[in-house]
Symmetry: C2
Subunit: 145 residues, 2 copies
């Protein structure tokens, strides 16, 4: 069975995702998925899954993130109740962040998705190569005369 000639039809055995009755309008799922889709949320959540961290420590754990995006993303996650924020009234104030129970409950499905991505990344890379180099099979790409 060639991976590229691999049509699957409808298999109704596996968990078939279906969007809420809503269908498309103001879909709450869309809402959540959008956040995970942004550039830093997932990375921050995964980092915090290893334990709470303070702002600058987080900035160092997630390299290439700017202070601005770190603040903003953390605010969104806090607003959504996935992350807590705690300010210690010292000087200078020490601010810690961590996962809430809600945030923690997201880890299993998220980890499953990440796991899928890692596991199938070679297949995806191969598919891209096939698609990019020339859509036909690797060896004799010319059709018979």
């Amino acid at each position: 069975m060639n991976p590229q000639d691999n049509r699957a039809g409808h298999l109704h055995q596996i968990p078939l995702p279906s969007l809420p009755p809503n269908g498309h309008g103001a879909c709450p799922v869309r809402d959540v998925l959008d956040r995970l889709g942004d550039k830093w949320s997932t990375l921050i959540l995964v980092t915090l899954a290893h334990g709470p961290q303070r702002f600058n420590a987080l900035a160092r754990s997630v390299p290439d993130i700017s202070r601005r995006m770190l603040t903003e993303t953390l605010r969104q996650l806090e607003r959504d109740g996935l992350v807590w924020r705690e300010v210690a009234p010292s000087t200078p104030p020490a601010v810690a962040y961590g996962l809430t129970a809600l945030g923690t409950s997201l880890m299993p499905p998220l980890a499953a998705l990440i796991d899928w991505a890692e596991r199938h990344q070679p297949a995806i890379a191969a598919a891209r190569d096939r698609f990019d180099t020339g859509r036909v099979a690797p060896e004799e790409e010319s059709r018979p005369a």
Copy 2:
């Protein structure tokens, strides 16, 4: 246990997601998550999970998507090997799309995530309300005197 006062520390019992040794540079997971994060990919995948569809049928199943984005998103998904494309040489040519085995293998983890989103959407909405209106607890949930 107050939902907002709900720090979870590190619980090492659940599947702890961790990014590849790479860490951040050219993370393959990032790569996959980015695609799922775009506006239409997930919606199209979920739609195709119910069975193959032709281009215009798909356009009708996923309302508010423009032909342009539909074409583009399908191309990406095809390139990544998640979706196949078949052209019937009729006039006018009939083009069908469907999930490949790879695409189908994504459904369980994706469904799990969607399920999480649906299940916890009320909690998220509540958290947002709390955060937006005034951060402190509504009433009796505030700390005792």
